[in-house]
């Protein structure tokens, strides 16, 4: 195999791995948007807070094990997501736009809390997976890659199973199709919307914890990692769950190729151009929308 092809293959592979994480972030954003018609700009800050809680409990002398700290962080974040939802549900009764602005307020508060509690420094946080790597057909794969694929694959599979096959999933789909009609039918829409916020926060935290080892953790970086998730969601049409997974993979692979072959210093600009191009070429998202809003 030629060297160029080798490079390309490994770039695509790592792009798919990070793309799965962007997809998980995007799924959370889209779930929140579908359930409450609000674009949640606090998604990344909440995930960053979780990263710092895990860092504080394991590395900073908290002395807790990894699993316990992740569970504590998840619990904190889900509670915070429910509080945010409570705030925003009141506000977005007036208008959706107000709800979106309110999420910016929440994101500022969360960013400030992280800075006050943990400082503005950059820290490193590693995954507790055995360090292992192998070369398959010239492609270097690591244990980190497999951990990411296994976790994101199973989380996404469970999510889709719940949405497609369970009563809770039907309720979520009903609320996202028409909140008003669901309320008329006697659904407790606040419970469904709250659930969507909680699950979305969990997805964001999982994605953030998996992506931090490949970069680093600071009070602002994880928030901007969310830009990739936003781009993935926009590519997918912002209200299609499968679309956001495809979008995540596209963003992961194309960003990898762009930063290797062109420059690594213009990633936000690249995402901006990608989003604007996608909006022009595929106004409805890259996957064709199924009518009737029946499935995810």
């Amino acid at each position: 195999m030629s060297d160029a092809l080798q490079d390309l293959l490994s770039l695509v592979w790592t792009g798919i791995v990070t793309g799965c994480l962007y997809a998980m972030g995007a799924l959370g954003l889209v779930m929140i948007f579908k359930a409450t018609r609000v674009v949640n700009f606090a998604h990344g800050n909440l995930a960053a807070l979780a990263g710092f809680v895990v860092y504080g409990l394991t590395a900073m002398g908290g002395g807790l094990g990894w699993v316990a700290s992740v569970l504590v962080a998840l619990a904190i974040v889900v509670v915070l997501a429910l509080v945010s939802y409570g705030l925003i549900a009141r506000v977005s009764e007036v208008s959706d736009l107000r709800g979106t602005i309110a999420t910016l307020g929440i994101s500022l508060v969360l960013q400030g809390v992280v800075q006050v509690l943990f400082g503005a420094d950059i820290v490193n946080l590693d995954l507790p997976v055995p360090n292992w790597s192998a070369t398959v057909a010239g492609l270097r794969v690591t244990s980190y890659d497999f951990a990411v694929l296994a976790v994101s694959g199973s989380v996404i599979a469970v999510l889709f199973f719940v949405i497609e096959r369970t009563r809770v999933g039907i309720a979520f789909r009903a609320v996202s199709t028409s909140a008003f009609a669901s309320r008329v039918c006697g659904l407790n829409i606040h419970a469904v919307q709250g659930l969507a916020w909680g699950v979305a926060a969990g997805l964001g935290v999982t994605a953030a914890l998996l992506i931090i080892p490949s970069t680093f953790l600071s009070s602002t970086t994880v928030a901007s990692f969310m830009l990739q998730s936003f781009a993935a969601a926009v590519l997918g049409g912002f209200s299609s769950l499968p679309g956001s997974i495809v979008g995540g993979l596209i963003v992961g692979v194309t960003m990898n190729l762009f930063s290797y072959f062109v420059t690594s210093e213009l990633s936000a600009t690249f995402l901006l151009v990608l989003m604007l191009a996608a909006l022009n070429l595929f106004p409805g998202g890259i996957l064709p929308q199924r009518g009737g809003g029946s499935r995810a």
Partner: protein, 329 residues
């Protein structure tokens, strides 16, 4: 997004403003004009920057009011105006007198170019694209190379009118431009185009029946807003005398939105000044507790957003309580 109507706007009726409020604006102008004579250099500088920021707050408020759109990317247009002014001075020796109009026109063109792809789509796409825009600013500045001065940035030191004190010019230029922008926006509200934009926002179908699509309205609102933001950037460069990539981050853009929201989306002089002062002075006053600044801004934003949709009720309740208190006393 017809339900976006009353975002932070509560008084969008088109009549000329009542006399007391106009009087208050004139009094504020007179007081501002007198500040350099009374206060020291530090306050002259700070209030000058406040007024430049007030113009920036107006640009975000304009988009919110007339377009019903949230932008967290206006730091891009601020940076564009600021660097336009600085680079014209550095490369061609032109003062802000040329730099400011150039920035305004080029800013409007950029605004259209940016809003074009999402002209027919829901407003959420625009909001998300503005986030990418804000994150792209520092990258683009650093990528521009030595022309833009890299991390250190550029200085803006050429006076508008040679021979007069530069400190005073750095104060009075923002004052004059702020007054002009407020006047123009008030005229715009009564103009045909102003009505078109408001109709397209509240009743898109009615506007379409009159031949104005929502896409046109979004482009027009964004172009004007971007032009005002570029002017604000030009003023900021002139009155702060320096531009650097650090002053145009995503936080800058979000803080501008905070300034707009805490001024209740006002497009008047007093509201804009309040918003400008809030985003300029809070970091100065709380310099020792820098980490708390985002919390203060976030809390202020949430407070206004949760209570602000019924300012009339809240005010009435407050007034009743105050009046009651007085009667008791």
């Amino acid at each position: 997004m017809p339900e976006a109507v009353g975002v932070v706007t509560h008084a969008v009726t088109g009549e000329a403003r009542p006399l007391p409020r106009r009087l208050a604006s004139w009094v504020a102008l007179v007081v501002l004009a007198a500040i350099p004579a009374v206060a020291g250099g530090f306050w002259t500088y700070s209030v000058g920057v406040c007024m430049a920021n007030a113009v920036a707050v107006l640009s975000v408020g304009f988009l919110l009011r007339y377009g019903g759109e949230v932008s967290i990317g206006h730091s891009f247009f601020l940076a564009f105006g600021a660097y336009c002014t600085a680079i014209l001075e550095r490369q061609l020796g032109l003062s802000v007198g040329i730099g400011l109009p150039v920035a305004a026109i080029a800013g409007a063109v950029l605004g259209v170019a940016f809003a074009w792809p999402s002209r027919a789509l829901s407003g959420i796409y625009l909001a998300i694209a503005t986030m990418a825009l804000a994150l792209a600013v520092p990258e683009l500045i650093l990528q521009a190379g030595p022309v833009a001065g890299g991390y250190e940035g550029l200085y803006v030191s050429r006076p508008l009118v040679p021979g007069l004190s530069i400190e005073l010019q750095r104060y009075y230029l923002p004052l004059v431009v702020l007054g002009l922008v407020v006047l123009l926006l008030a005229r715009f509200r009564r103009s045909r185009q102003g009505l078109v934009l408001l109709t397209a926002r509240d009743h898109p179908r009615a506007a379409e029946a009159f031949g104005f699509s929502r896409g046109y309205a979004r482009l027009a609102a964004f172009a004007i807003s971007a032009a005002v933001a570029s002017v604000a950037g030009s003023l900021l460069a002139f009155s702060a005398s320096t531009v650097s990539p650090n002053s145009f981050t995503l936080s800058t853009a979000i803080y501008l939105l905070v300034g707009t929201v805490v001024s209740f989306g006002s497009l008047g002089l007093i509201g804009a000044l309040a918003g400008g002062a809030f985003i300029t002075l809070v970091p100065q006053v709380f310099a020792a507790w820098g980490d708390w600044v985002p919390i203060i801004y976030g809390a202020a934003l949430l407070l206004v957003i949760t209570l602000g949709h019924r300012p009339a009720e809240v005010l009435a309740a407050l007034r009743a309580r105050l009046a009651g208190g007085r009667r008791d006393a």
